[in-house]
């Protein structure tokens, strides 16, 4: 491997980094121990969603969505892209208030959104249970099938001379990685983009795996038309501990319905847990009762790489010379992958960035 940069991990973040770095003329080598895009990249829902828990999250996700728009371009089917938009469901007046604040926040970033009265909500999504307070439609959100995008990004990097290698990294040293065949490979820059596996190589990283369950149904075209998420999701998804479920329903371009979501700490067992799955499905059926009549064809789990403050780690890491991090994206890795790659590549090349990169610097945990 005769590379300027070695990228560890060929999930969507690693692939996007390889693409952005090779575009800048650097010689890139990507090391992946399994199938590119086969880890958390394939396990998630593939949503492209603007999140605004804080200003830095909103800036990163909005920036990345603009990059997705360019990438998907006029060939959406290559990514299995759907511009379905997201409807945030408000169960009561308190959540309606939260929806209004969210709308103002997003509109302040130039994002298209629309408050929905109950009548407008049911006109768009008749499967929702009666008695909801309304919702917020975010038009620019969408979804992709991330393993396909990962392949597209990797192929583009490889056409510029990037190479990929299937191997397991056993250690990261200064400007160097060690592989399981005992070989050592030098490079000026090492990019660690291994998601929840990153902490196996650097145990001091502030990353914790958060397990998630998903289920997908057979094809029922038109059952729902938008990605549907409960506003209560924000409360439950970011609780610092404990198991939780949240209503998150997504219409895939195939007509299938992807049903989420769950969050669990303190486990690295990938087995599907019937009790957690049952809790998740029951919760989903409370929002769309006829969901119980649909056939589920597959269930699975995955691990999000969660940081203590919910923001990813993008930038230099002083644990090793030449080491850069692009990990810790939790549930927003597909959405923010493209912006992550641009911020990281710009830092490596000393370029100015479109948005400030300081909020995502790994050094924020070192004080």
């Amino acid at each position: 491997m005769n590379a300027d940069v070695i990228v560890i991990g060929a999930g969507i973040v690693g692939a996007a980094c390889a693409d952005a770095l090779s575009e800048r003329g650097l010689r890139v080598a990507v090391i992946e121990q399994d199938i590119p895009g086969g880890g958390a990249t394939a396990a998630g829902m593939g949503h492209l969603v603007v999140m605004d828990d804080n200003a830095a999250e909103l800036a990163l996700s909005a920036y990345s969505l603009s990059l997705w728009k360019d990438l998907v371009g006029d060939r959406p089917q290559r990514h299995e892209y759907s511009g379905c938009g997201t409807i945030w469901i408000a169960a009561d007046e308190e959540e309606m208030q939260a929806a209004m604040e969210k709308a103002q926040n997003l509109a302040g970033h130039g994002l298209l959104c629309e408050m929905l009265t109950p009548a407008a909500l049911y006109a768009r999504e008749p499967q929702l249970r009666a008695g909801l307070a309304g919702g917020l439609l975010v038009r620019g959100d969408g979804l992709v099938y991330p393993p396909k995008t990962t392949r597209i990004l990797l192929d583009r990097a490889m056409r510029r001379g990037a190479v990929t290698r299937r191997a397991t990294v056993t250690a990261i040293e200064d400007n160097c990685v060690m592989l399981n065949d005992g070989s050592r490979h030098l490079a000026q820059h090492i990019v660690l983009a291994a998601g929840a596996r990153s902490s196996a190589l650097l145990p001091a990283l502030p990353i914790e795996p958060k397990k998630g369950h998903l289920a997908i149904t057979d094809r029922y075209p038109g059952f729902v038309k938008h990605q549907l998420v409960e506003l209560g999701y924000i409360k439950s998804a970011h609780a610092p501990s404990g198991d939780s479920v949240a209503f998150n329903l997504q219409p895939r371009p195939t007509g299938q319905i992807l049903i989420g979501s769950s969050r669990q700490f303190d486990t690295i067992d990938p087995a599907v847990e019937p009790a957690m799955l049952q809790r998740m499905l029951r919760h989903a059926a409370r929002f769309t009762p006829r969901l119980t009549e649909l056939n589920i064809v597959r269930t699975w789990t995955g691990f999000r790489a969660a940081t203590p403050d919910g923001l990813p780690l993008i930038g230099p890491c002083d644990a090793r010379r030449g080491l850069w991090l692009a990990t810790g994206h939790e549930g927003l890795g597909i959405t923010t992958s493209l912006a992550t790659a641009q911020l990281l590549a710009a830092q490596i090349q000393n370029e100015t960035t479109r948005i400030p990169f300081a909020p995502y610097l790994p050094g924020r945990f070192h004080d």
Partner: protein, 87 residues
């Protein structure tokens, strides 16, 4: 082979079969081959006949994605295959 006591509807056709005949068999007897269409619109037909391949899915009495090879025919049953647009 003479007790054709069950009559059901497969798409626009009616067919009478013996008790114990599966819907997949009735579809074949009625001269149909295609049960469902793939995501890209390609025709699919029963392959395993034992509930594994999932290719025999049809809509039975309004309920989508039923395994025709695992469902016995019943009097008055309405079966929609891909030839009538059922996914």
């Amino acid at each position: 082979m003479t007790d054709l006591s069950i009559t059901l509807h497969i798409d626009a056709r009616s067919i009478s079969v013996e008790p114990g005949v599966t819907v997949a068999a009735a579809i074949a007897l009625a001269g149909g081959g295609v049960t469902r269409l793939s995501v890209h619109g390609h025709p699919r037909a029963p392959l395993c006949g034992m509930g594994v391949c999932q290719e025999c899915r049809v809509t039975i009495d309004g309920r989508a994605h039923q395994l025709s090879c695992q469902t016995l025919c019943a009097n008055g049953m309405h079966v929609l295959t891909a030839s009538e647009g059922a996914a």
